[in-house]
Symmetry: C2
Subunit: 587 residues, 2 copies
Amino acid sequence: MPTRLTRLFVRTLRDDPADAEVASHQLLLRAGYIRRQAPGVFAWLPLGLRVKARIEAIIREEMDAAGAQEVHFPALLPREPYELTGRWEEYGDGIFRLQDRKGADYLLAPTHEEVFTLLVKDLYSSYKDLPLTIFQIQDKYRDEARPRAGLLRGREFTMKDAYSFDASDAGLDASYQAQRDAYERIFARLGLEYVIVQADAGAMGGSRSEEFLHPTPIGEDSFVRSAGGYTANVEAFTTVAPPTRDYAGLTPAEVLDTPDTPTIQTLVDVANAKHPRPDGRAWTAADTLKNVVLALTHLDGTRELVVVGLPGDREVDMKRAEVAFAPAEIEAATEADFLKHPGLVKGYIGPWSPEGAVLGEESATGIRFVVDPRVVEGSGWITGANSDGKHVFGLVAGRDFDADGVVEAAEVKEGDPAPDGSGPVHLARGMEIGHVFQLGRKYADALGLKVLDENGKLVTVTMGSYGIGVTRILAAIAETTHDDRGLLWPKEVAPFDVHVVATGKDAVAFDLAEKLCAEFESAGHDVLYDDRPKVSPGVKFGDAELLGVPIIVIAGRNAADGVVEFWDRRSGERRDVPASEVAALLG
Amino acid sequence: MPTRLTRLFVRTLRDDPADAEVASHQLLLRAGYIRRQAPGVFAWLPLGLRVKARIEAIIREEMDAAGAQEVHFPALLPREPYELTGRWEEYGDGIFRLQDRKGADYLLAPTHEEVFTLLVKDLYSSYKDLPLTIFQIQDKYRDEARPRAGLLRGREFTMKDAYSFDASDAGLDASYQAQRDAYERIFARLGLEYVIVQADAGAMGGSRSEEFLHPTPIGEDSFVRSAGGYTANVEAFTTVAPPTRDYAGLTPAEVLDTPDTPTIQTLVDVANAKHPRPDGRAWTAADTLKNVVLALTHLDGTRELVVVGLPGDREVDMKRAEVAFAPAEIEAATEADFLKHPGLVKGYIGPWSPEGAVLGEESATGIRFVVDPRVVEGSGWITGANSDGKHVFGLVAGRDFDADGVVEAAEVKEGDPAPDGSGPVHLARGMEIGHVFQLGRKYADALGLKVLDENGKLVTVTMGSYGIGVTRILAAIAETTHDDRGLLWPKEVAPFDVHVVATGKDAVAFDLAEKLCAEFESAGHDVLYDDRPKVSPGVKFGDAELLGVPIIVIAGRNAADGVVEFWDRRSGERRDVPASEVAALLG
């Protein structure tokens, strides 16, 4: 039996909903696939649910092929396991917390590392039980500050999350590779372009981490790639530091008047005008050392100021800085911070002054001073002299000042050299659609997951974590395949294989359409049938384009002659075909 | 590829877990189907998930056959819709509430009437769009005070909930019947015994409500049935009142001393000893009018005392009283309540005293007085005289006192007459596995769901609500089909169709088992293969019995002769069969 549009629970909208900012969101709403319930929380209508189910089926098949076994955890979980790993606190405002009637703490789980670990601990005890990879397809919750772009960043979303358990590092490598390969197969089947980029392993304590990014201008992630094959999330990009230089023979640092130069541009202008470079070339922003004050909030709630020194032609990239300073949260220092630290002269901060260092842990202020990798020993800089309207020229790293550390917090720029020597990188935007992650022993350590090895000795299990955003993938496919008339699904995930449309007032067309529906269905195709009696062909075609089934078959004008129109929605080609031959075209 | 026990994520337990009180819970834990995460919250292991998926598939098929369309709502929903229908308050402690980072109120939905109603309102506007029945299979949340019996009363559980929308009452009847028929087909396919009982429509405002109860001694519901076919949940049972009597000529009421008779039994004894019945028969408890003080807490928080008068041979059934007084919450009056109302003389309360009525809305105390339907006009009673150690004899309803109303709050007893005249009822216990419910226009009214009728006039939509507890059904099947050696699934829901066991050390047995697995799989059967190399036959057989796959095929001793053992787990029959013939036995 085909699904009839007269009965299907759907209603198309002519206009784009006001609150939908990206095409996939607009079209999924207009075509009646989803409806918003709350910010970042959606209901699935029959058409949307069909697409989602097909994506899930593909993921399940590939998980099965990779030897992963399906389980299912609740979303509602008790606080204790997350307390043991520290994540109850670490998530901050990012998760939904609640209490039951007895006052016990629960959360709506954002990911399930803890309880998977505990489940394996409950069931298994020997290396012989391993390797094990278990997964679930399940609704997850994150209390995003800014849910956006419909399904692309939701507060309730469906994920496939898998976890691997191995007794050895080599085992983890193999389990990781199996999931990574499965992800490649999944995205290939879904027809979804992706780039695998190095990702930051961050505070998770793992050794290897890669993201599957779908390149798209509306993506929230920035990544780089070089012609030579290097790819990385900008958070994971590592700067190529220039060689250190011999500073013997360099002239001593000199404090010069640079009135009204609180910004790099004003500083460069004044320097070129008043203190030209001895070699005659012009000073550029890259010759200056910019010192940016960040405020860190540590997990225990304490606030710490840190100054980041970086070449003046680069801004601090807050996402890279976030990773660099994790798990602390960061923000730009506030006026209040400056008021508390009168030693920090806004616009004229530097690591050195004639009165002695004002930055660095051993300085009077005790404010940590960390630098970009480009600030190598022997490099000379124009930088603040910690005095209003004054800068110091020719301040040499390693000779005149030392940093408390090196930090990857500067923005990555188009043309920066890839760290593997494969050439300059290009910047692009992408959407994270998958993530594979070697967790290592962090969770097993925290939760006591050990097994007996070949020698009867207890060893801590090493783990991997592998996520795919099901609902995000659906939106990404919609985003990348739509055209200006509507959705346009690849046939692997389309809600129906073929959309049959009967037009006109002539019963012959409807009878033929019914016959074709029956024929297609018995050949194993899922059929949507627009059987609406009093709707104009124009409206029917418009709806067909909006709904996005890739093949449309129209029984209309020429139905009496046994001829139908075959419409390939993707190529746009429409041609008349004898009704008897159309089934063969469905493939 | 068969599922191999060497790789399947499962571990069987020899002993019953301490905290599992019913057989289904014990066995699902022991056989590695589920694991507890928090009170009433469980994770599903691969075997459990397979059974659950099969039950869901059957439900989906029957919903589809009944013309219902699948949608999917989030569990996390905003407060507003539930506020509009009053359920945000009504649920009291029974739901999980939470706030997001902006302080907005949310709940984890226990059922979804509100949002389904709003979704239909969003999409539809004409009677031509109706009838519509939409459903979801989804995880629901209730903050039960006492989660118990494993999956039977959980705090997170999977339900199929369907909602029907019609423009007319006749339409609702048809939609209701379609779901009711689908439920009968579902339970028949699941092999799950059920009784359809009248249920109380209660505060939901609906006109018709039936429960599907699975008769089981561990059920939480009591129901009655008569030989003549009457069935009802005890909450919905209606008492057959005796005929009213003519009280002309009855002797006047008389207050008599009945010292130390605070209970019905002491009262009957003293009455028979000191004040024998004029006709010589003995007084019985049924001759007394017991007046029970209940405290109602109304939705607005106010507390009200109500006295329920009922024959002394019956107790108040708090569940029936709860329904009778809904949506108020009830409890027995406390000492504090009595202290506040000195007119209520504990043990000697009655509707009448020589000084005038102490009960009834028009009395001095103003305490509402409601009576059991058996307290008909002309019936005479021994009851309290509102004075310590005194009762009044021959107090006649309608002559000496009037009640403020009639209430169905007395317990139902074995042998009570069915209200439809079909004979005495028998009491039994059951577990609610399904519920069909005519909601009528309550939700559509509250949320403004109207459509245009044939005449272009706006009419309010009438709705039905239909629930099946998926996880509860799974537990009910386990509970009803298990034996003392383990689970024993009907083949419609078994996690595998056949469990192949290879025993011994001889490679021949394992080779034959592999061959059979491949043969069974290619014939379309799901195969579990116990390929564990060093496990004794006894342990393997014990695990096979515990796991509960209905057919077990053993390649062991006689494998070299091409003979296997075919074990029908249900009948217990084990017989040797040529390996070449065993596939045909799988059916």
